[in-house]
Symmetry: C2
Subunit: 110 residues, 2 copies
DNA sequence: TACAATATGTCCTTTTCAAGACATATCGGC
DNA sequence: GCCGATATGTCTTGAAAAGGACATATTGTA
């Protein structure tokens, strides 16, 4: 049961915070879309549809969280993404909130 | 900007993990729907629509996370909810996941 | 030359979700 | 008696999201 709950939580987080997961990955190392798909599958068993990822990456760049550069290597044209300072701010806000959440809610009211 | 990001994260978490927020509240103290609405508004400035809350509470009870008891006090019929052991397990899975997330993703691969 | 893998993109259809309206009942104060 | 607060419930409508198909180009291998 505990394992089932874990899976449920992971699914819900990755569905709703996919953008932040991607930012966290790119923060550790600049990456392109296809690599993100392969990496999340290996690391987390998470299959991101490319039809969901590419529009998301584009919108994240438009919002200023990422910056891309086209790089060609052995005929493969890749859009390599780097995180921006704005992107780092968003990830930090996420981490800060998680820390806050871990402080249990047993605040007694007046 | 940092504050804007915070608000964005809070909104996204509370939209997607409202059930767990409710479980956490009820875990600290048994409660009924109307009180949850008033309490989250006072504590977090979070306005939960009753049209969203009551069906959620019912489905959470159906799933075994909560157990309710009708209590009448001065003519007010309240459905007081208590968290079940299954509900506690779900909350714990959430906390465990948060802790895991806080460990940054700088895992280098082989 | 055909096929799998790499690489990025759009689009449509279905399903899910959120907001607000509709609905009912009691109590206390004016 | 009426209104605001307490208390719980459903339902419809519209918007957002998820899934999968359609689309294209290159490289390496069988």
């Amino acid at each position: 049961m505990t394992q089932t709950f874990r899976k449920q939580i992971v699914q819900r987080i990755t569905r709703n915070f996919l953008d932040i997961l991607i930012l966290r990955l790119i923060q550790t190392e600049p990456m392109w879309g296809y690599k993100i798909i392969k990496k999340t599958e290996r690391l987390f068993g998470l299959k991101i549809r490319h039809g969901a990822l590419y529009p998301l990456l584009n919108s994240m760049e438009a919002k200023g969280y990422l910056r891309s550069q086209k790089k060609t290597e052995r005929g493969r044209v890749r859009k390599v993404y780097k995180i921006t300072s704005k992107g780092i701010e968003l990830v930090d806000a996420y981490y800060d909130f998680l820390k806050e959440q871990l402080q249990r809610l047993d605040i007694k009211e007046a």
